[in-house]
Symmetry: C2
Subunit: 414 residues, 2 copies
């Protein structure tokens, strides 16, 4: 029978083997009391199994509160546990409750993070996955292989009217941008109701598409209660939009999947709230496991932060996240990594050097809007930065070759 | 204009005032670049506001990774920030993205936990809240005020067939139990498909209700993708069930609210995965804030762990959680706290002494099933334990007064 496996980074004051068995027990039979009619075969069929244990260092301070070690030592390890597909079938919420449920409550752990998970081949028959993926997003925006999609975020996050936003969109569209998105704080604000914003913005985008044959992708933030999200989605479709954005942690898995399953719009997955799930090194979930869940749910684009970002995350972590998204899952389930936060083009060579890909949605805010030659110069500078990156040209050299990128380096290159 | 406020426990290597302003800026305008057409009034209208700062201790080690302090000092504080209702209206997912979004990524914090939130009175016009609440759950189970609902969990969590489960349910129902639930690991297993389980169990419960006039509440775990959850819900309704359970963190807010909005079944909210969100003292969300979100979504019962539980959580935290659930919100939004984990009745006097309430769903597993006089003795012992608790009788005295409870003390009282 096919099995689902999960890998955890753990810390425990007990023997690692014993702690691993507690996890497996808690997350399958859930009791050590024999029950009438429970045969050994039945127990065997549904029991979680500890597949491997790799012992790591021992430390003298627990990472998070839990049982106190008598010896003052806390042992770290990587463990892999597996479950039969028979336990929960093809049901993502119950899979999550099994792989990420009450185990975080277990006092025998003073650290527990879900690092990765593997689902069996039969999942491909039950989960359609991303409707567009990388190739589809390229087709929708008319951006051929060889460079990333260049995108930006409407700022200020909140406060502008639909008309003001549309005016800004017009500037960006004419500047040659591929992608624009609402901020995650902007759903339906008092002075910018969702429907009015879609109408005003799509008028600009459609008019530009009629003239230029290039339809800019705008990710409208449809995040809301279920029925409102469906209405918001309808509104985007009716006005000829190509993308909807959801704050995936806030909406939640069942809601996001229900929307992805409509398969008419590319889904831009914003992971705000992610720091809560990941920032502690020994608590929560690693991005490698996280991105698999959302690819199964069907998102087409997923945030990964960026090199030299303004947030707390390290470059190494960003690189691992991009690699995770670009690693095929069940033979496909393509998701486009969304690079953002403090990006202006100067990070393009390093991003390419470390990931060797242009299959990215590369987002810059100030790097475009505040460019000395205006937004058109900003977009051009980003395209130049990526050309330089692909050609193996350094930032310093590229600044000499390309006028607009040179201006970016002067202004943002500190 | 009405405002929504959020209180955070923070730690920062910077001045607390400066860090608070970064949070407010990031979570409203999101930029410090002036944009054409952005007036001062508009900025004022949508800007988040730091309402109060209460400074706490300074420590020499950061709680979670972030900016490094030049002075080696990290300052802790409680801060309150507010937003106008105009920013996102009545949209829980976007409210969460505002109160709990990218702020966890901010490098200026080396600790950040959402402790509480306050929503304005107008929320009551937009969110129906729990359909049954405490009073409704008492009516559905026929348990009058003065004692908690006594409940149990089917164990082993997974492995039994519908028929085996129904046999166990028959024993429990005849023992006088008020409530039974699926384990959160049990959705639709290979040998226990959801529909077949509901049918087998409700046959037992309905037959007992016909004889005795007491309908035991069974919380069937409907957690699944959206459409399957709706079908599962229909199945429970069709068979005369009164309750559905969801793993709320795994299903997510939009999905849970959509189900709650049907208002035909009491909703049992299982918080598995909660440790991930709360176990670190300076990361995530406190239960006080958490339970408000789910009451707005409309759950009727919510897990709070129990006194002397088998998990890592302290008794103080459990008591605070019960109090949080029982504090009226917007004049109502009653939710019944679900006390569980290692409970057998011996904790009843302490639970009552510290919370002064019987408005609980009190769950025991082994305390009922493994009682020396059988499940009927176990249920009786729990009722006796609560009678003793309300009468102010100690465990030792109660063991002498009540035969079944006395047997519990002998067996479980270590």
């Amino acid at each position: 029978m096919e099995r689902i496996s999960a890998t955890y980074y753990i810390e425990t004051p007990y023997e690692v083997e014993a702690a691993a068995q507690v996890l497996a027990g808690e997350q399958s039979s859930g009791t050590f009391v024999a029950v009438p009619g429970e045969t050994a075969e039945l127990k065997q069929r549904f029991a979680a199994r500890v597949e491997s244990i790799e012992k790591l260092e021992t430390v003298s301070h627990p990472a998070i509160p839990g049982a106190v070690s008598a010896s003052g030592q806390y042992h770290r390890a990587i463990i892999t546990v597996s479950w039969s597909i028979e336990n929960f079938g093809y049901n993502l919420p119950t899979m999550i409750s099994t792989l990420q449920g009450n185990l975080y409550e277990i006092t025998q752990f003073t650290g527990l993070k879900l690092m990765d998970l593997e689902v069996p081949a039969s999942f491909a028959e039950h989960f359609d996955g991303p409707a567009f993926g990388i190739q589809g997003c390229r087709e929708l925006t008319g951006v051929e292989e060889g460079r990333p999609l260049i995108g930006t975020i409407i700022k200020p996050s909140i406060g502008m009217s639909p008309e003001e936003t549309a005016t800004l969109v017009k500037t960006l569209v004419e500047a040659g941008i591929d992608f624009i998105k609402d901020d995650e704080l902007m759903g339906s604000a008092a002075n910018s109701p969702f429907g009015k914003r879609v109408e005003a913005i799509m008028k600009v985008i459609n008019a530009h598409a009629d003239k230029s044959d290039k339809k800019v992708m705008y990710a409208f933030n449809i995040s809301d209660e279920m029925d409102s999200m469906q209405r918001n989605y309808d509104t985007v479709v009716q006005h000829g939009g190509t993308c909807a954005m959801m704050s995936i942690n806030s909406v939640g898995l069942a809601g996001v999947k229900k929307i992805c399953d409509r398969r008419e719009l590319a889904i831009h997955a914003h992971r705000n709230g992610w720091g809560m799930l990941n920032r502690h090194p020994l608590l929560g979930i690693d991005f490698r496991a996280y991105q698999k869940l959302w690819r199964l749910a069907g998102v087409d684009q997923l945030h990964v932060n960026g090199i030299k970002n303004k947030f707390w995350e390290s470059d190494d972590s960003v690189v691992r996240s991009i690699e995770a998204c670009l690693t095929p899952m069940l033979g496909g389930y393509e998701v486009m990594p969304v690079v953002s936060s403090g990006q202006w083009g100067g990070q393009a060579p390093e991003t390419y050097r470390r990931t060797n890909t242009t299959d990215l949605l590369y987002m810059a805010g100030g790097g475009i809007m505040a460019h000395p030659a205006g937004p058109a110069g900003g977009v051009k500078a980003l395209q130049q930065a990526w050309q330089a990156a692909v050609d193996g040209v350094s930032v310093e050299e590229a600044a000499k070759i390309y006028k607009e990128f040179g201006l970016s380096v002067e202004k943002f290159g500190q």
